[in-house]
């Protein structure tokens, strides 16, 4: 009995390893057709679902050319027999005979993910630091305690709520100030930032609170101001934890779907201005997954694999280099 339970418990612990490996393997297998076809060029190819008539046109600059994949073309490639009643589809099918191809490249969602995350971090880091400093050092306990709890509770609110609020309230508010539509890269980045503020602030506050009060008191005793104590005592002491929590927040922002899906617009287009709509990897997955098939399906898995690997690396980095001594 004892031996059985011991084996069982080890097996349960191993499920973590199994699931994570399985995610990697399954994503890889599903993405394989796209990986084989496009290789690493996928990462720098801005064309998503662009019909290319022949190989010669392959290298033409395609910003103006980006058209959404016609589902009919897709279905046709899959061999479904559907009624052909659309001239575009007819043209495309005519094209198939002339060696056409639909090209999928991931550059636009990759750039969209990076930009929205950068905006989010640029917005969230100063505010989260401000909140953390306020809670840990400035506010008296009767304020910092309830506010701290409120911040932690806000971190528990489902991200879909942030997205919905962004769509109906924050987006129009931003567009009335900065112009542009109520869905844009800017709105997405800011909503993402607001979403990670509570998370980042409470982690940062926790690491600032680990500073031994003896250190702080001795600094105050020799006449240091509060700012100097924060800058020269608390920050150096809690640096690793603070940077670690920022990277964790970054990892969360990279993979966030719902808060962004409402407000980024979901169009495959490079944003010319910050107030233009674009798309990010999680949003591409959320919007296009259920209807995709064939090569677009595989290309989506390629994107999912990229996202998984990148966030895995980011989080591992944060854990091993900055939050190591926590456990």
């Amino acid at each position: 009995m004892e031996a059985i339970f011991k084996k069982l418990s080890a097996l349960s612990a191993t499920t973590i390893l199994i699931i994570l490996s399985a995610i990697f393997v399954v994503l890889f297998i599903q993405a394989k057709p796209a990986i084989e076809k496009y290789g690493f060029h996928f990462l720098v190819d801005p064309r998503w679902g662009v019909t290319v008539v022949n190989e010669l046109k392959n290298n033409m600059n395609s910003n103006a050319d980006v058209t959404h994949t016609n589902e009919k073309v897709n279905n046709f490639n899959e061999g479904d027999d559907i009624a052909i009643d659309d001239e575009d589809a007819l043209a495309a099918i005519g094209g198939v005979n002339q060696n056409t191809d639909v090209v999928y490249g991931g550059l636009i969602p990759i750039v969209g993910t990076i930009l929205s995350t950068l905006i989010a971090m640029a917005f969230a880091v100063p505010i989260a630091m401000g909140i953390a400093i306020f809670l840990a050092e400035i506010a008296p306990p009767f304020i910092s305690k309830p506010v701290g709890i409120a911040i932690e509770l806000l971190a528990a609110i489902p991200s879909i709520i942030y997205g919905m609020w962004g769509l109906f309230y924050f987006g129009p508010f931003i567009s009335s100030i900065f112009g542009g539509g109520s869905v844009s890269l800017l709105v997405a980045g800011l909503v993402l930032g607001i979403m990670i503020i509570p998370f980042m602030a409470s982690l940062t506050r926790d690491s600032m609170n680990t500073t031994p009060s003896v250190l702080k008191e001795s600094a105050y005793a020799i006449g240091a101001t509060k700012f100097e104590v924060i800058k020269d005592v608390i920050f150096p002491y809690a640096k690793q934890g603070i940077i670690g929590s920022m990277i964790l927040a970054l990892g969360r922002a990279l993979g966030e779907t719902m808060a962004v899906a409402f407000v980024i617009g979901g169009v495959f287009k490079f944003p010319d201005k910050i107030t233009d709509p674009t798309v990010s990897i999680p949003v591409v997955l959320a919007n296009n997954f259920a209807e995709s098939s064939g090569m677009s399906y595989s290309a989506l898995f390629y994107l999912a694999l990229i996202l998984f690997v990148v966030s895995f690396i980011v989080i591992t980095f944060a854990k091993f280099y900055f939050l190591r001594d926590k456990k």
Binding site: E2, P158, I197, P198
Partner: protein
């Protein structure tokens, strides 16, 4: 000069705190106003097909509950391994770190994974796929909680159990688990609150059904997926239903979180 810089910096960080809190406050206020104005009894007695929320609320709850039934036993036993059987060897450290990494894995990726293994073979979205996606989200949280809570149990309790000649699994189940029960239960409660608000892993696994069903082999109603679909509809009334759903969801999540905090506080007393 030093004092001036000090004043400026403190003012700036207080200002940052106020701005941050203002945004968060704004979210809660709009949610409450919108939620209250669109909530009525009708929503609780009708399904989505008749512009109600009943099937969605039940569906979301069932999905999360099944995720708990699948994920919690594995997670607790895995946590027991890490804390009680592994003697903190390298493998346990590796699993512990891996579990922490898994906790932050993008939820949409877990959705795509479950789609590939459980939706594609079946041919249509189904409740099991949704529940398993949530269980995968939940597993690392449960492992972490169990691991931490068992770590708090005093060594003497273990030694006492071993001293009277009880086999180790008996010591674990009759003594250690009982000592850590409150902590683990609270952790489970918080993990439940976390997964019940998830949308991304459900989008293409459970999908969303307009009808009441408890058949997990079929497309399953999900509140969060429905909120996403409804909120982007042009029909004003449907958007209001989405707000009502969002309000109820947030209320539920916040209440569970507060409850969890309260239990922990009581325990420390």
């Amino acid at each position: 000069m030093r004092l001036l810089i000090n004043k400026i910096v403190l003012l700036l960080s207080t200002l940052a705190a106020i701005i941050g809190l203002l945004f968060l406050f704004w979210i809660l206020v709009t949610l409450t106003i919108k939620g209250f104005s669109s909530i009525n009894l009708y929503l609780f007695t009708h399904d989505l097909v008749d512009n109600g929320l009943r099937n969605l609320l039940i569906g979301q709850f069932v999905l999360a509950l099944i995720a708990v039934i699948i994920g919690v036993p594995i997670g607790i036993v895995a946590g027991i391994y890490l804390q009680e059987y592994s003697f903190n060897n390298n493998y346990a450290k590796f699993i512990r770190n891996l579990s922490d990494v898994m906790m932050s894995a993008p939820s949409i990726v877990i959705g795509t994974f479950v789609y590939a293994i459980l939706v594609v073979p079946v041919g249509h979205q189904n409740g099991w796929a949704g529940a398993i996606a949530l269980a995968i989200m939940m597993l690392p949280i449960v492992v972490r909680t169990t691991d931490d809570m068992l770590g708090l149990v005093p060594r003497e309790l273990r030694e006492a159990g071993v001293a009277i000649g009880a086999p180790k699994y008996k010591v674990i189940f009759d003594i250690i688990i009982k000592a850590a029960k409150v902590g683990i239960m609270t952790g489970l409660l918080l993990a439940f609150a976390r997964i019940i608000g998830e949308t991304a892993p459900l989008l293409f696994t459970s999908g969303n059904s307009e009808y009441f069903t408890l058949n997990l082999n079929e497309v399953f109603p999900s509140l969060t997926v429905a909120i996403y679909n409804l909120a982007t509809m042009p029909d004003k009334h449907l958007v209001e239903i989405a707000w009502a759903g969002a309000f109820l969801l947030t209320l539920f999540v916040l209440i569970i979180n507060l409850l969890g905090r309260y239990i922990i506080k009581e325990k420390i007393k």
